[in-house]
Subunit: 143 residues, 2 copies
DNA sequence: ATTAATGCAAAATCTTTGCACTTTC
DNA sequence: GAAAGTGCAAAGATTTTGCATTAAT
């Protein structure tokens, strides 16, 4: 592989960050690649930090937190709150809902069209609906 | 008021705890009265502890946490997770959903029949649905 | 050069735990 | 008196912050 060849995934991540108005720094690029170069995923800050270290990136946990929140702010990620004292970040920012496996503490997307939300209440005065979160909590089937 | 007259609310709380299999201790009784003698409410451990102190009860924050979780375990309360790093406890254990006001960090019940959930996905193999939580996140209408 | 981002360690939150003491049954 | 519950302070866990250093434009 010739070194002057453009590194595709890298260039893509760079573009993605620029578009979002974030400087494509080494850490943000690295984290973006971990997050977005595969299938949609759900990560905790701690888990992503672990992956980064495994991939020999040098990044602090504080920067991982900061970066995840920046990504949420610019719409690259969505934060999912399902468990007290732990934040999950979802690379799927589209309209969809979640299974939460209480046993393992993991999340899975629910295809949009397998939940149908009929009739929503009106937003109370002075507010507007920002998002509707549906979480289906699953317990181990101790049949 | 004659001292031998039965204190109704107190007796009710006592009964409620006994039925749930919890010893009616001074702290549990006091917290139960704060929680259940009024309309349904959403409290944090910290807020409930504050109320207890205001009412001149002597109870530690640790005991408030323990008690809230015990109440959840026996079905007297329901825990609602909407915000990272803060647990809310809901005295309404019936089937219903929530508004979450992002601005103030407060919760409100949504009447059951103003949300209709049609079509739910089947629980993945080895699991069963424990609960379905719907949270409608409200933002301040900066119109 | 200028401006923004990072790393680190420290702090801030929120929650749980260990154990001696107290209360309930 | 036996068993369960409480208080306190300490520890845990997760997340945020302050500030000097480093990197990107």
């Amino acid at each position: 592989m010739r070194s002057e060849v453009v590194n595709r995934p890298f260039a893509q991540a760079q573009e993605q960050l620029r578009t979002a108005g974030l400087r494509p720094t080494r850490q943000r690029l690295g984290l973006a690649r971990l997050l977005f170069e595969r299938e949609h995923r759900h990560v905790t800050a701690e888990a992503l930090h672990g992956e980064a270290l495994d991939a020999d990136m040098r990044v602090s946990l504080a920067t991982v937190y900061n970066t995840l929140h920046q990504f949420v702010r610019v719409g690259l990620l969505r934060e999912v709150v399902v468990s007290p004292g732990r934040s999950y970040f979802d690379t799927n920012t589209g309209d969809h809902h979640h299974f939460f496996f209480e046993g393992s503490g993991t999340l899975a997307d629910i295809p949009t069209d397998s939940v149908e939300l009929r009739r929503l209440p009106a937003a109370p005065g002075g507010t507007r609906i920002g998002r509707v979160d549906v979480v289906i909590r699953l317990e181990d089937d101790s049949q």
